[in-house]
Amino acid sequence: MSYFRGRRRPSLACLASLVWLVCLSVMVVQAADPIRLTHDGRMKFTPVFVDGGESLTYVDFENPKVFRLRTMNWETKETKVIHEAAPAPEFDPAYSADGNYFSFLRATGGLQVSLVIRNRKSNEEVLIPPEPGFSGYRTPAIAPDSSHMLFSFANNFGQDIFRVEMNGQGRTALTGAKGINIWPSYSPDGKKVLFTSTRDGNYELYEMKPDGSDIKRLTDSPYQDIRGQYSPDGKQIAFVSHRDGNAEIYIANADGTELRRVTRHEERDDYPTWHPDGKHLVCVAERDGSHDLYLLPLSD
């Protein structure tokens, strides 16, 4: 059970202890000053490391009409657009840990968002179109062994997480269309999936098995807890919470216990992703009204 679960009305003493514990943990979780990785200031979303950390792919809000997938060479920090000729917004990138697959979303019409699954070796693509009308996919995640993948899809008054084979076949609903279920993330061993759901009211973090069974709640806050990601060793999770007044990044044990705050700034810190070394996070931070990627060194 999470440290925060069942504590909606704590006593003052408990509350004071809680605040003290959180303050203590804040002091130890970030080891050094963040390192700014980009400098253009444009809005960015969902960075994700590729090929063991050789590069970093993220979404660049290039202009008011376009999301573009952009990749950063981790060694040189040079960036380039992945699909120069893309005629439409592309976003929500995901890669398999074995490097075999790349998946992302492509807007193919008015509020029509298709899912693209690309075999990186053969360059063969499967495009899964949305249903007619306003329809589309979000937040794909590929199993570490590339055996299948997950995505979020809105239907039947809810937003469920679905599982498909890498050829796009065999769609299976996992979470039940209760509330909004989004941001699935596999554990490194592929045995668990971390996701966000509103099934109990507001956005909270949950875990489940890859077949959708054994759903457990990990967080409990009156404000958003979203975008959870397992650490490379699977022992911790990083996520975003608004529990302290704005979007900040937190780390907890994989079961939701021992919450620690990573960032503390009056502006937004969002979209955390683990560096493969497990000692750093990359996030999008708003500073002075601009959004850039930052590397956050973590203490042991």
Binding site: H39, D40, G41, R42, M43, F45, F61, N63, P64, K65, F67, P87, A88, P89, A107, T108, G109, G110, L111, V113, F134, S135, G136, R138, A154, N155, N156, F157, G158, Q159, G179, I180, I182, T198, G201, N202, Y203, S221, P222, Y223, Q224, I226, H242, G245, N246, R268, E286, D288, G289, S290, H291
Partner: protein, 448 residues
Amino acid sequence: MLNIGSFKTKTCSGIGRRSFLQMSGAIPFGLGMSGLGAVTADEVDDVVARAKSIVFVFLWGAPSHLDTCDPKPNANTEYRGPFGVIPTRTPGVHFTELLPKLAQRSDKYTLIRSHIQSAPGHPDGGTVALSGFEENPKPVKPNFGSIIARHRGFRGKLPPFFSIANGVVMDGGRRIEAYGGGEMGAVYDPFMVGASETGEVNIPALALMDDVNPLRISDRRTLLKKLDAVPRSLESAKFRDWNRTYQQAYGLITDPTARQAFDLTRESKQTRQRYGQSVFGQSALLARRLVEAEVPYIQLNYSRHVEAITPGFEFGWDTHLYNFSLLQDQHCPIFDRAFSAFLDDIYDRGLIDDTLIVCMGEFGRTPKINVRAARDHWPQCYFSMWAGAGLQTGRVIGASDKNGEHPITRPITPLMVGTTIAELAGVDSQARAEMRVLDGGRVIDELF
């Protein structure tokens, strides 16, 4: 497209960029503003205007009222949405967690939660929101800004009605009918000006030739000669409109004081940062500069288009799909920061007593979550924010029912919005009758 010049500006990120002033051949069809001195005031200001300037912040596409300023945390899950609520400075009033800065500034404006309107779609709803009347029967009634423009006339170096966006506001390929003068004529259309996320200002009504730097233009004859190259094949009446548009724009760029109103590089880096590196943020900063230049009416548009995640369109508030993600990822952070900075600036610079600020979409969004776990159009209930011109602030006027579906107090209509704006701008009932505008409109008494 005729391209007759460019100039460098320093951007938010400190990088020099070329800002282009361009004019397309289509300008006279949609953007025709009269020439210098051609717009004459209908009457002398016998009535004292409480608002020298009006800024109408148009959240085009229609934000969800439940997910922003009228949350329903006790509604069931079919309605309430996934966001927590936070207290505002106004006792007992809560916003969702997506608008923390505006929640902290609720003492600077009054919130109305009981708007209704009659048109359910964007183009028609936009026309009602901006004119007070439906688009049919024709002719279309004028935009509120056109009424103010006609009343004030062209007295200064700047046009009396600006619309800030990178073009006429549109839904898909269709513009809002009431974007401008409507039945009063294109002479009362807004003068269009846009800003990029880095603070480059674009005036679509102008095309400057590449070898002319507008910061150094002094030879009118040279420029006129270049303009003679403009194709004369345009229909003569429209060419006259275009020529007047050119004259006005020429006046703007050749007059140093007028030109300064568009030069965001004159702002400190800190000021530009407070508004945020976004099109809406820098547009809001431009609006503040136009207020300082005493422009009578400024329509500050959140985006040019309503569409969200649609190829070829600026992303607006029309969130039929992924409403919650789009609000938390983009729209609310951008809006919360920029509009808060704008309010702060107007107050801090002592402009608030002479400026009226109205912020709203064309309608709200369905309180009941739709089949795609998002929200559709809902003209039966929505919100607005009002500040300045001596209005009492820190209040909430009107209320919606438990699910945010309908007002439970007197409904406030777009015609009432326009009538109140006009009244505060000094266009009293007699003037409105003489101009034959806003017929049947009543002032929102609760604001006074």
